[in-house]
């Protein structure tokens, strides 16, 4: 009987990973690249994905539903057959604020309002991640904006962000 612990070192489906041959980072590498994250044996798979510029969500092989953040069992059907899979990166802004002050963070400028959004991912209603929005004038930020995944640097490691969909790359 597969238990929740079985998923801890399961790799994402090779067919769904990015085309460039970036190998899955080792535990040592993810620990070194995210020195202040409370990494554990489950969420390390999410952070390893970031190093490959993949945004991963949990997916259940039993019922097919997605979830964020990664969980040891499927929150919908309790199956232990869950694994992290990359999402398409398409989504819409569901929640939105702009932060005018906050803890000092490298690369973060609060002076014009730092956008923080809850992005509803295209894969499933209610499947969301929190992320900043880039390449978008402040006055065009709004709930409902169609966005796509892009990458920014956070303290020397790739970090997911979103930008208006369909911008020239």
């Amino acid at each position: 009987m597969a238990g929740p612990a079985d998923i801890f070192d399961r790799m994402p489906d090779a067919r769904l990973t990015s085309p460039e041959p970036v190998p899955e980072p080792s535990d040592e590498e993810v620990l070194q690249r995210f020195p202040s994250v409370r990494l554990d044996h489950l969420n390390k798979q999410y952070y390893k994905g970031l190093l490959r510029r993949q945004l991963r969500a949990g997916r259940c092989a039993q019922c097919g539903r997605w979830h964020t953040p990664l969980r040891p069992i499927c929150p919908a059907c309790w199956s232990a057959r869950v694994s992290p899979e990359p999402v398409s990166g398409r989504g819409t802004v569901y929640l939105l604020t702009s932060l005018h002050q906050g803890p000092p963070a490298p690369g973060v400028d609060y002076s014009g309002g730092f956008p923080l959004a809850g992005i509803e991912l295209a894969e499933q209603p209610g499947l969301r991640v929190a992320a900043t929005v880039v390449d978008c004038p402040h006055d065009q930020l709004r709930v409902g904006l169609a966005v796509e995944l892009t990458w920014i640097d956070r303290e020397g490691a790739p970090w997911p962000a979103f930008r208006p969909a369909g911008l020239p790359s």
Binding site: S36, V37, D40, T68, Y94, L95, L99, Y110, L116, A130
Partner: protein
């Protein structure tokens, strides 16, 4: 619908103690504040160390003080039940109610402390001792669990999540910042008569609208004010409380509400979070409801939370709190008065008295129902409705009554 509530009116708050709130209590410790409140509460109930056989409490920003430390520091000789509680204060109170009701202890000391740490106050960040008191990882990332492991500006845990839902509320219901402003102004008007309130200067709507924007659309005046301070309460059976020198206040109904997913950025909608669940469950457990209450204590850690309390507890429908507050505004007193009768957070709430996770609301409710609120006494107050906590993973409800 009714829900089982066998402890109804059987458990009482028999003592209350305060360590006064201040923007900065200076070179003191969280334990010192907590013990000041605890000793005051035990004395208020006419009890001594040997009478306390239950201990429950905890704070948020530092992780709080462990019951074992409190037992040690107070020299409590015989404790048969204890628990550590995560704020808001109903976690603490609910644990004590259930422990007394179940016979795990007879007399529980309930404590809650707030101690400003780096990250919540610039002045606190200047104190190296307070920097070391901060909970979590060195960069400030929260230690509250999976899904909540990142801090602002990268996650919606806490304040940013409330701001984002406030923005969605404005957009969905055509509400305005003035609707939020009425909550802040009313609290400030009330705080003028509360010596424990740290903000007592009157607030006008132009002041509110000009308030420094912090997290859109929430400005400085939409967020509770960080303070140092502590509260403590004595919880025992109503029977025992009646034999004590203090005036007892009865726990009529108490609840908490949480629905999945409780994370701010994942919640399906404001009408399906823990707050409306707590409201429904409290309604089903209480014989006393909106027409029966004399004073209302909506939680106001953020103005949007209080605004939504009017909706989820049924004073008005979803999206209607703005017009409801306008209709129930006492212009002469510059504050909300429901139906021209029921004041709201007469101590000023977290926005003006100081942010203490509902502990201030609970203390004021006890004070009002004892008839000991002095110049801010609500005439003939017999029943109070409290709604500590926010929308998501910490919504709580409480009906208190005078004996």
């Amino acid at each position: 619908m009714t829900r089982r509530n066998p402890a109804k009116d059987k458990i009482a708050i028999a003592g209350a103690g305060l360590s006064p709130y201040a923007r900065d209590r200076g070179a003191t410790t969280e334990l010192a504040l907590l013990l000041e409140a605890a000793v005051a509460a035990i004395h208020d109930a006419g009890l001594a160390a040997a009478d306390i056989d239950g201990v429950v409490g905890g704070g948020l920003l530092t992780g709080g003080i462990d019951p074992a430390t409190v037992v040690s520091a107070l020299g409590l000789p015989a404790v048969t039940w204890w628990a550590r509680a995560v704020p808001p204060v109903m976690n603490h109170l609910s644990a004590a109610i259930n422990a007394v009701w179940a016979g795990a202890c007879e007399v529980a000391l309930v404590y809650h402390s707030v101690y400003r740490v780096a990250g919540f106050s610039r002045r606190a960040a200047a104190d190296p001792f307070r920097r070391r008191a901060t909970l979590g990882l060195p960069d400030g990332r929260a230690a509250t669990g999976d899904g909540h492991t990142d801090a602002e500006p990268w996650s919606m845990h806490g304040s940013a999540g409330y701001a984002a839902w406030a923005a969605r509320y404005l957009a969905e219901y055509g509400a305005t910042r003035e609707d939020f402003g009425r909550v802040a102004i009313s609290g400030r008007s009330n705080a003028a008569a509360n010596p424990n309130a740290v903000l007592r200067e009157p607030l006008t709507m132009p002041d509110y609208l000009a308030g420094r924007m912090i997290r859109e659309p929430l400005c400085l005046y939409d967020m509770d004010v960080p303070v140092d301070g502590a509260d403590a309460f004595i919880v025992t059976t109503a029977e025992r409380a009646r034999d004590l020198p203090s005036v007892p206040v009865l726990i009529h109904a108490a609840t908490m509400g949480m629905t999945a997913p409780p994370e701010e950025h994942l919640a399906a909608g404001l009408d399906t979070t823990g707050q409306p669940l707590a409201a429904r469950d409290l309604r089903a457990k209480s014989d006393l409801w909106l027409d029966d209450i004399d004073v209302f204590f909506p939680y106001d850690g953020f103005t949007i939370v209080a605004l939504r309390c009017f909706e989820t507890y049924g004073f008005c429908g979803t999206g209607e709190a703005g017009p409801f507050l306008a209709d129930n505004w006492d212009a002469a007193e510059n504050r909300i008065k429901i139906g021209g009768r029921v004041p709201v957070n007469p101590h000023g709430g977290s926005l003006s008295e100081g942010g203490s996770q509902g502990a201030g609301h609970l203390r004021e409710a006890v004070t009002q129902l004892r008839g000991q609120a002095g110049p801010r006494q609500v005439p003939g107050a017999r029943v109070a409705l409290l709604t500590p906590g926010g929308f998501f993973f910490n919504a709580q409800g409480l009906v208190l009554r005078a004996d």
